[in-house]
Amino acid sequence: MLGLAVQMLRFRKGGFAATFIALAAGVMVLTVCGLLVESGLRYQGQSQRYAEAAAVVAQRDLTIAGPKMFGEQESTTLVLPEPGTVPAALVQRIAALPGVAGAVGDRSLPVVAMAAANTPATGHGWGSAALAPYRVVSGAPPRADGEIAVDGRLAAAGRLRPGATAEILVGGTAQRFRVSGVVEAPGPHGGKAALFFTDTRAALLDPRPGRVDAIGVLAEPGADRSEVAASVRRAVTGTGAKTYTGDELGLAEDPAATAARELVTQAGGAFGGYAALIIGFVVAATVGLSVRYRRRDLALLRAIAATPGQVRLLILGEAGMLSLLAAVVGVPAGIAATAWIRGELVTRGFIPDTFALRAGVLAAPAVVVAVAAVALVSAWIAARRATGIRPTEALGEAAVEASLGGRVRAVSGLVLLAVAVCLIALTGGLDGEAALGAAVSMLYTFVLAIALLAPWINMAAARLLAPVLRTVWRDSGYLAAANLRANARGMVAVLTALVLSVGFGGTVWFLQDNLERETVDQSRAGILAQHALVGAAGLPASAADEARRIPGVVAATGVRRTSVIVPMAFEGMAVVAQGIDPRGAEQTMDLRVLSGRLADLDGTSIAVSESRAQSSGWKLGENARLWLGDGTPVTLRVVAIYDRGLGFGDVTLSNETLAGHTATGRDDHVLIRTAPGADTTAALTSLAGRYPASAVTGTDRFTGELARDLAISAWLNKLLIAVLVGYAVLAAANTLVMAALSRRRELSLLRLVGVTRGQVRRMVYAEQSALLGVALSIGVAIAAVTLSSIVNAVAGRPIPYVPAAGWIIIVGGTAALALAATILPIGRVLRTRPVEGIGIRE
């Protein structure tokens, strides 16, 4: 039977092209997802500075206990948005453990060497150099507080030699150091270059007193390293810190590695889920179609010799072989695409350069098996339908059109549609994340319902549109309506794919635009200050104080951007937060406070956005329990609830609360409000001059920068959506081309009985307008409903913003699809002489 399947494939290359393309593209998309997940899971950063350590104690993530389910304690683990710290007191305790030669508290301070500003670097105390270990290549280790040692990377980039003077930006101020030596560690480079202060200097510069970033443990020579690690693990139990050993050391060394791992794994996994769903739909539709177009061949086989089982086997054999071929093309294409995505992610700063793609020894076979399984299951379903082909069909002139679909399909479609409609009401009553979640389920339910009901929708559309088509295109329209009725089942894939692309793509794509726009709007409307002092390396609190002293300045507010972890129903979530200096803050920013007073904000309290308060169940005057960015649990009283959560962050804290809990311990910018008419330009410029890497900008430009940040993070989302929509459109195009080319005989017949070429062409236009018009309308309707409920919930505006370019892409894209996938192939079909066309077997 396989031999026969091979021959069928070779003979009907065109007919199988659609299935092959759908499968190959599916393998490619899923390979990308699989590779991302696998690489993410296996990525552990690159450890250089900790290479010699037997174990490293650090806190990089936070585990939140959830509810008990079925007697098991559920818990979620979140990557900390700010580098977590461990108590410095632990160093002594660990050092005293048996087998431990020494324990070093390592501080990682964000530093910029002005001579090598483009090389990302961190500063440490010299004590931690032993963990690599770093050896002095030239010069000497830092001994006095004015001295530093730099690693080879930094030395080369900044041309720093022992004895040279280097200007280092640390803690928001530029300081001059003498380079005492150049050091180098064995092994490949880690994520960032290293720079060493003396231990005392490092402790002074660290904004988190009594805490260290990590504790490196050196084992005594001859001690069993795994035993040492185990005793360290026991010693730190209960502190929230984790003990890293072996390959995991890279995760402890570079917090960005943990974040990257998380981002890549989640993006790949979530996207893989959507992709699998869509690929399943498309593959099932195209395989089903390839059987439909061969009913007569299959009926003939049944009549002369083949048992139903053999016909099923033939179809399964074809699908299996196509899957293998698709894997041959799809896997390498997927690997290439993943390499490109990795490059883009690195360039955009989502992941560090040390992030390596794994060859996918697990992912690629898993993907191939998954796609083959989808193809075989679809083929099995199609084959079961083919078994219903009566052998007598081989004898008849025309293959009999199958019925529209089973009762189960109709009923489940209607049930889903009803559920989706109910979800509209539900989404309208919710706010924030809950609404977002409900809207996404609504989107899926709608698309699924439409996919199931597609045959009847096509039929109903053909009936309803018949008078319209007749009026517009007359005789051609009459024929078109008849064809639409007859092909209601065949065009199911087209309807589903288009509704999916427009509904799904439209919602997610424009949601990004709406969020960006809302963010910019809120931020622009809410910032009352005219100027902002922005410091790339952070600004000390003195900057805001100095700004306040400038004559003509009404108020100045130091702002820190951070994230905090808030509890949700069953888990926790990191949300954007800002730390402010509450003094006079109401004069620089208007958060549109709905209840309470922002002026009451202090070290024991918090202000939250309305949607956050609702999702986390916080009320004014009550206590809110949450975790700061570094994982420190805090309980703060809610003193204000405000509206502009998107523009300013869902949580507003006092800088006092954040002290010692952010990496830099400095403000990111200072908002400065000046009195009308006051000329403060010169004073502000000189203020900026006193703080390195800082500049004063108008707040109008400042919001523009905010939007650009958001646009970059939307890039990944939009890329994923573009791929999915592209895939669905490809499937629609496939179906249309196959349908168009299989109509040679029919169109020849029409021309022989006196329909002119122009009339045939108009008939095809009419069919396309009706089919694509219906699909487009349903897709747009679904997108509109979903989008407006989300935008209403998030931004409080009932009408979502859709850029003009969006409309042009949707409508233009559909028209282009119709042109490329039907009108051009039909044009080709019409060029053959009708007498020749009639003789051709379909």
């Binding site: 026969l4 061949d297 010799a305 089982g309 009566r390 081989a394 077997r841």
Partner: protein
């Protein structure tokens, strides 16, 4: 009581076939017929008379609503779909009006298809003989689309002969052919009866084609209305003309 007799290749016993629908159509009404081994029978009648339905039921392509069909001693009503297929593959050959061949396969592969599907080695010498007889020696590697209509029919006949079936069912085997080519195809079918003792049951409209048969059975309204042993072309034509005057052509294609 059984009507079965050992020299029957095919027998149908009180066979009815009704097509369900808004207006049920009775295609066969309690038809009794027996076809002896080594004979060629033409089944005739106007469109919608039930002659094609009889062929489908007798060949095991379709199941009658009621009644019994036998091929040899085998009662088809007791067979599963799979067993029916096996029976068609081993004991029945088919020649249809058109679309007889699988386009993906060469002439040779089409001829060998039943043996291939049954997983049995064909008798090479017999295959060569059959191919010689239908005159396709030089065209075994061609695809059906490269052949004329007559050649395609000859491939179908070769396929029907190669498994040495007991019965060959033909549905308008010459319907799409010119007179000369039709004569060649009919001569081939006749020789299958005369030389190898096979049984041929052939539905046709054409009195000339029917004149090759040993017996002509005429259908009207789902019943046998005439059963004529070796009538001439003249008599067949007269009978058909009579039927044509008697009733309008039914809408349903039988």
């Amino acid at each position: 009581m059984s009507m079965y007799q050992a020299d029957d290749a095919v027998s149908v016993e009180r066979v009815s076939k009704t097509y369900e629908g808004d207006q049920p159509v009775v295609a066969l009404a309690e038809v009794d017929a027996r076809f002896r081994r080594g004979t060629m029978t033409a089944v005739m009648g106007p469109s919608g008379s039930g002659k094609s339905t009889l062929l489908h039921c007798a060949a095991g392509l379709d199941r009658p609503t009621s009644g019994r069909v036998r091929i040899g001693a085998t009662d088809l009503s007791s067979l599963s779909e799979k067993q029916l297929t096996r029976l068609r593959r081993d004991r029945v050959g088919f020649v249809f009006q058109a679309f007889n061949l699988v386009g993906a396969l060469t002439v040779e592969q089409n001829i060998m298809l039943p043996s291939r599907l049954s997983g049995r080695r064909p008798d090479r010498a017999w295959v060569t003989e059959v191919v010689e007889r239908v005159g396709l020696g030089g065209r075994l590697r061609h695809r059906p689309s490269e052949l004329s209509g007559g050649q395609q029919q000859r491939v179908a006949i070769a396929r029907a002969l190669v498994t040495r079936p007991e019965v060959i069912f033909c549905d308008e085997p010459t319907g799409a052919l010119d007179t000369q080519t039709a004569a060649e195809v009919l001569a081939l079918l006749r020789s299958a009866v005369d030389q190898t003792g096979q049984t041929v049951i052939m539905v046709t409209h054409d009195p000339v084609a029917a004149s090759y048969a040993d017996r002509v059975v005429v259908f009207a309204d789902g019943r046998i209305v005439q059963d004529m042993p070796q009538p001439g072309v003249q008599r067949i034509a007269e009978q058909l003309a009579l039927l044509g005057r008697r009733q309008p052509v039914a809408a349903r294609e039988g």
